[in-house]
Amino acid sequence: MSTDNLHELIHIRHLTPSAFVLRMSRRGLKFKSGQHILLGKAGSIHNREYSIYSGENDDFFEILIKEVDEGLVSKQLKAVKPGDKLQIEGPLGFFTLNENDIHTSKFLFVATGTGVAPFHSFVKSYPQLDYLLLHGVRIAAEAYEKADYQANRHVLCTSGDTSGKFNGRVTDYLKNNPVDVNTHCYLCGNFNMIKEVFDILEQQGVPAGQVHAEVYF
């Protein structure tokens, strides 16, 4: 077995009973914020795609994972211990920021659940970004590490209780708060949210070329 793509687990950070962050050795792996990797236990034939959670300049490498009830890989990854080796393929994908826009444009990030991972990486890599993050969750406890975002740029939308900054889905928030048509919009999370947000942004006049999506299947 090749060891070129093996990364050692440094520690595991449990955010909720089912969500956790794996911090691994970086080993010089280069990536662009927004890209994803295929991750599995060393020696296993099973792996899954996960967006990178950490920043481009961090010494380590982090992935945000939610344990899936009927899942195989997420359960295996939840059980790993510091010192264990994990197998990475990648980085892959095109859900990245255009370098020309980073310093000059306004960004809207819309996420559901662990779909917030690439936006966490964006914000860590480019602290000067002019962004607004809408994070849709069921309850406030699922606002994974919201302290990492500037409070005035983070809108937690809770659909299961009234603990968020906005009570309702991200789609409801967008309908009530139209988007400036010059905004670059990045959507990440479940397909139904992305489909609805696409339609809303289209109705609000945001050109399709400014809307980017990473669907979690």
Partner: protein, 483 residues
């Protein structure tokens, strides 16, 4: 001693099989169409549909029963999901990824099988225990493509391993004397939800451009007329090398410049490009060179934005429309082919209607239309296949009607024109030959002259049908080098 190979699936598998044949021939095995005559039975598997994988299980079950009567070696390679690979290990004697093909002689020798090539060595008095290893090394050298020879007469060390480069060094055994595939890339990074290729072939790896050009030169020198560059996403060629390899556009320029200089007549195609990576400069390159065929295969899969999202195609219809407009503007004579899936999970009538409208808008010359079926291992296999079979059939027929309507209009526009065609073989119609134009429109014409097969000819088009045209030969131009 004989071998029999079953190749399932796409052009990539057909191309891979050409290299497997070389390895078999190098060991002294002769091909046979009859399984019962073979000592080695192999299958190049495809995981695109469950049906194809079912065929592999059915075949190995039969072959294992045959083992009760005779000594056989069985192997499987090709597109295999990890879960199937584990099961195949218990059923086949040899299971290996294509990247390990150069090691096949060694694997067979380790089974204690004396190959015909091995017998020659034994006859020559090399009856020591190292004979098998010697044969293996000798065979390994003999399957090397001459393009793998290093400068200064050094021979490249063939070290069977997991490196796809080693596979590309195997010289293919072409099944045609005038049409050939050149693999330029292996694997896929796109993760379309309906497709399992990223899980069977792994990540995108680009073949060195020097090797591609060398293989092209050899084919053209041998008189090949139609050459197709193959890859899962040909136009992302080179991106995996982070600037250390030329781009797909530059590769096309290199081919074009060679074509201009060679004085030979040949057509170079490529398949499949992905709309996401289809840039204007690719189309601009095609315009510039006579050898780059004016035919573009641009898979759309669906004409609906939401379905494209669900398929994880990573491009919009706006982007696709821009590409088609650029093709029409810069290469008005180009023919346009596509792939479409109907009845994808959750596809509504309205979403299907958007696909039908796309066909109306883009006037394809050919569309490979598939009714959606679950691809094991693909992300969409986790979703319910909820469009009823009858609905898929109706949608399939509606798109077929749309295709034939537009292709007939185009084909009728060819009537009265004299077109250059490549004669490919005898037609099903008695006394006719079948050919295709540079744009891959099928042309049939009356002739019994088999010597025309593999040659260019000029045909005046007399009549048109939806998917073919018919004409009269006005002369045969055997292509010659221009001084």
């Amino acid at each position: 001693m004989k071998y029999h190979i079953i190749s399932l699936g796409c052009q990539m598998n057909q191309s891979d099989t050409e290299r497997v044949r070389t390895v078999m021939h190098s060991m002294g095995f002769a091909p046979t169409e009859e399984e019962s005559e073979a000592s080695i039975l192999g299958v190049i598997a495809c995981s695109v549909r469950q049906k194809a994988i079912d065929k592999v299980y059915s075949r190995i079950s039969k072959w294992n029963r045959m083992k009760n009567r005779k000594s056989l070696i069985t192997f499987v390679s090709g597109c295999i999901l990890p879960s199937d690979r584990e099961k195949f290990l218990k059923l086949f004697d040899l299971v290996f990824p294509m990247s390990e093909l150069p090691g096949l002689p060694g694997m067979i020798n380790h089974y204690g099988i004396v190959t015909p090539a091995g017998l020659q060595t034994l006859d020559a008095g090399r009856q020591d225990m190292q004979a098998a290893v010697i044969v293996s090394d000798k065979v390994a050298r003999s399957i090397l493509n001459p393009v793998a020879a290093m400068p200064g007469g050094q021979t490249l060390q063939l070290n069977p391993g997991k490196d796809i480069d080693q596979f590309w060094h195997v010289e293919p055994t072409y099944t045609s004397g005038f049409e050939a595939y050149i693999p330029i890339q292996n694997g896929c990074d796109k993760f379309c939800t309906f497709c399992a290729v990223p899980y069977t072939r792994g990540r995108e790896v680009s073949r060195p451009s020097g090797e591609i050009m060398d293989e092209l030169h050899q084919l053209v020198e041998k008189g090949f007329k139609s050459i197709t560059l193959l890859g899962q996403n040909v136009n992302s060629y080179g991106l995996d090398k982070n600037g250390l390899e030329v781009s797909f556009t530059e590769l096309l320029h290199q081919i074009g410049r060679y074509g201009d200089k060679s004085g030979k007549e040949f057509w170079v195609y490529f398949t499949s490009p992905h709309p996401r990576d289809m840039t204007d400069d690719v189309i601009e390159a095609i315009v510039q060179y006579a050898c780059l065929a004016k035919q573009i295969h641009l898979p759309v899969q669906s004409g609906d934005e939401h379905v494209l999202l669900k398929m994880n195609r990573k491009h919009s219809m706006e982007k696709y429309r821009h590409i088609v407009h650029t093709i029409r503007r810069l290469i008005p004579e180009a023919t346009l082919f596509t792939d479409i899936i109907v009845g994808f999970t959750g596809e509504t009538d309205e979403q299907f209607e958007n696909t039908r409208k796309a066909m109306e808008e883009f006037h394809y010359n050919m569309a490979y239309i598939a009714q959606y079926s679950v691809r094991p291992g693909a992300a969409s296999s986790r979703w319910e296949d909820d469009v009823p079979y009858e609905v898929k059939k109706v949608r399939f027929q509606a798109l077929t009607n749309e295709l034939t309507k537009h292709s007939l209009v185009y084909n009728k526009s060819l009537i009265g024109k004299t077109l250059r065609v490549l004669v490919r073989g005898r037609d099903r119609k008695e006394g006719y030959l079948s050919a295709h134009t540079e744009g891959r429109i099928v042309v049939r014409f009356a002739s019994d002259d088999a010597s025309l097969i593999g040659q260019f000819a000029d045909v005046r088009i007399m009549s048109a049908a939806p998917l073919s045209v018919e004409g009269e030969r006005v002369g045969v131009m055997v292509s010659q080098a221009v001084d």
